[in-house]
C-alpha cells in the first residue's frame, strides 16, 4: 500500500501538456479579472449590499479593491506568459487572491470560480512552466506529477459532490428539477431555434426522469472512469459531450472550458510516441500531415514522410500506435481524432465505424 502511495507521489513525466493547462487557466483568470473590472465600473461591491464570509473589517476599501483587480489581471498575464521565475508564483497568488475576494462577498460565489482557484493552487505546484513559456527552454521538461494528479482528484471530487448531491435529492432523481428547468427556459430554447416538438418531447416526466438519471450516472461514472486506464478515453469523450451540452443549454461562465482544460491533465505524460507517416509524393498525404501537425496540440504524433516503397497498396497515411501496431484509412483517422482536441468530439463514432475495418491493418508493412 505504502509502495503504491510512494510510486504515485514520486511519479514523473513529460510536462508538455501542463503548459497548455497553465495557459488555459491563465486565460480564465484573465477573464475573471476583466469581469471584476467591468463590475467595478458599475459599482464597488462594498458600497452596496454584500455578504462577507470574512469579518467586514477585512473587506478591502474601494481603492484597495481596484488595485487587487488590477493585480488579478497582471498576475493572469504572468501565468499565460509562463516565465520560469514568475508563472507558478503568479498562479498561486492568483488563486489566493481570488479566494480572498470570494470570501469578501458570498453573493459573488459561483462553483466555477471556486473550482478555478482550486485548480490554480494545485497547478502552481506542478512543473507547468516547462512548456509554452517565455524565456530560455528548461534543461528538461520531465518533472513530478503529484500536483497534476491532485488536480485530477479535484475534478473527481467535483463530479462526486455534484452527482452525489443530485443522487440524494428525490426531486433530482425523479427528474422534477430538470422538468421545471425545461419548462422555465423552454421558451428561450424555442426562440434560439430548438423545434417546439423537441421541447414538447423533453418536457415529458418520463423523459426528464430518464435524463436526470443519465446526468447523475454520468457525473458519478466520470469520477471513476477518468481514473481508470481502460475507460479513460471513453470517459473523456463522454464528459466532453456532457459539458458541451451543458454549455449550450445553461449559463455556467467558464466552467465548461475550465473542466475541458483539466481533461488535458489526463493525457499520458509523454510526447511524439505515436508515428504518423505520409506519402510526400501525393498532395493528399502532404495535406493530411500538415493538418495533423497543426491540430496536434498535445504533441501526440511524430509526423514524417516515408519513401514510396515503404508501404503497399498506395496508402496516403499510416499511423503507428503506442503499441507499435499500424493503422490506415478510417482506423488511422480515428486514431488522429483520439489524439487531437479539435477532432476528439467525433472520435467515438469514428472508432466504432473503424472497428468494422480491422482487416485492413494487415496490408501495411512498417
Amino acid at each position: 500500500m505504502w509502495d503504491a502511495v510512494r510510486r504515485w507521489r514520486d511519479a514523473v513525466g513529460d510536462a508538455y501538456a501542463l503548459g497548455l493547462v497553465r495557459i488555459a487557466l491563465g486565460l480564465l483568470l484573465f477573464a475573471a479579472g476583466l469581469r471584476a473590472a467591468r463590475d467595478l465600473e458599475d459599482v464597488y461591491f462594498g458600497d452596496v449590499f454584500h455578504w462577507p464570509i470574512v469579518p467586514e473589517a477585512l473587506v478591502p476599501s474601494r481603492s484597495v479593491y481596484a488595485l487587487l483587480v488590477i493585480a488579478q489581471v497582471l498576475l493572469a498575464v504572468l501565468v499565460v506568459a509562463g516565465h520560469r521565475t514568475s508563472a507558478r508564483p503568479a498562479l498561486l497568488a492568483s488563486a489566493l487572491l481570488g479566494t480572498y475576494l470570494l470570501l469578501c462577498d458570498r453573493l459573488q460565489f459561483h462553483n466555477n470560480r471556486w473550482a478555478l482557484y482550486c485548480y490554480a493552487v494545485l497547478l502552481a505546484f506542478a512543473p507547468c512552466d516547462r512548456s509554452f513559456h517565455l524565456g530560455p527552454p528548461p534543461a528538461t521538461r520531465v518533472g513530478p506529477l503529484w500536483a497534476a494528479r491532485l488536480a485530477q482528484i479535484q475534478l473527481a471530487l467535483i463530479y462526486v459532490a455534484s452527482g452525489g448531491s443530485k443522487l440524494l435529492d428525490p426531486d433530482w432523481r425523479d427528474g422534477r428539477v430538470l422538468l421545471e428547468r425545461f419548462r422555465l427556459y423552454g421558451s428561450q430554447a424555442v426562440e434560439a431555434g430548438v423545434p417546439q416538438r423537441v421541447l414538447d418531447w423533453m418536457t415529458q416526466a418520463d423523459v426528464t426522469s430518464a435524463l436526470a438519471k443519465l446526468a447523475i450516472a454520468t457525473e458519478l461514472l466520470l469520477a471513476v472512469g477518468l481514473g481508470s486506464r481502460s475507460a479513460r478515453v471513453f470517459a473523456l469523450w463522454w464528459g466532453l459531450w456532457f459539458h458541451l451540452v451543458i454549455e449550450a443549454t445553461s449559463r455556467v461562465e467558464g466552467f465548461t472550458w475550465l473542466t475541458l482544460s483539466i481533461y488535458v491533465l489526463f493525457v499520458t505524460p509523454d510526447v511524439h510516441v505515436r508515428k504518423l507517416s505520409f506519402d510526400s509524393s501525393r498532395a493528399l498525404g502532404r495535406c493530411a500531415a500538415r493538418a495533423v501537425a497543426l491540430l496536434d496540440w498535445l504533441a501526440r504524433f511524430e509526423v514524417k514522410a516515408w519513401g514510396p516503397d515503404a508501404v503497399r497498396q498506395g496508402h496516403v497515411v499510416v499511423v503507428v500506435r503506442r503499441d507499435g501496431t499500424p493503422a490506415t484509412g478510417l482506423r488511422a483517422l480515428a486514431m488522429v481524432a483520439r489524439c487531437t482536441p479539435l477532432l476528439f468530439p467525433v472520435w467515438a463514432p469514428l472508432a466504432l465505424l473503424a472497428s468494422f475495418t480491422r482487416g485492413r491493418d494487415a496490408d501495411v508493412e512498417d
Binding site: D42, F49, R106, A115, Q154, V160, S162, D169, R176
Partner: protein
C-alpha cells in the same frame, strides 16, 4: 483535499451550499414583495420604491435597488429563478433586509422592512414565506 471533502460533506449546514459544488441544485422560483412598517402599519413598497419624510420633514425617494444590486434580490414584484436554490436566496434576502434597513439614514418614517416571498420549489404549488429586517436604529 481533506478540507475540500469536509466542505462538501458539510454543505447542508450552509444555506447556499457554498464551496460544495452542488451544480444546478434546484429549479425553484421566487417572487419578492417588499413592505415597510410605518406607525404600526405595513405599507407596500411597490417595485421596491417608496417615498418618506426625513428628519427635517422633507419628502425623499428611496429605492431597494440603490443598495441591492444582485439581479435576483433586486427583482421586486417579479417572479425570478432562484439560483442555487430557494433557501440560498432566502438567506441572502434576510441579510439584504437588515442591510437596507441599516442604510436608510434619511428615511425618518420606516421602522423596519418586510419581504413576503412566494416560493415555488421545483415547480410545486407556491408557498408564502415572510422575512423581516431588524428594527432600524434611528438617531435621536
Amino acid at each position: 483535499m481533506v478540507g475540500q471533502a469536509a466542505l462538501v460533506l458539510t454543505a447542508g449546514a450552509r444555506p447556499d451550499g457554498a464551496f460544495a459544488f452542488r451544480m444546478f441544485p434546484e429549479a425553484s422560483t421566487m417572487e419578492i414583495h417588499l413592505w415597510r412598517e410605518v406607525d404600526g402599519r405595513w405599507i407596500p413598497a411597490r417595485e421596491g420604491e417608496w417615498s418618506a419624510h426625513d428628519g427635517s420633514g422633507q419628502l425623499r425617494h428611496f429605492s431597494w435597488r440603490d443598495r441591492v444590486r444582485d439581479p435576483i434580490l433586486a427583482s421586486i414584484d417579479t417572479r425570478v429563478f432562484a439560483s442555487y436554490g430557494a433557501d440560498a436566496q432566502l438567506a441572502r434576502l434576510g441579510r439584504a433586509l437588515d442591510d437596507v434597513a441599516d442604510h436608510l439614514p434619511e428615511d425618518g418614517e420606516t421602522v423596519r422592512l418586510r419581504a413576503e416571498v412566494v416560493v415555488s420549489r421545483n415547480g410545486r404549488e407556491p408557498t408564502a414565506t415572510t422575512l423581516e429586517s431588524h428594527p432600524r436604529r434611528r438617531g435621536p
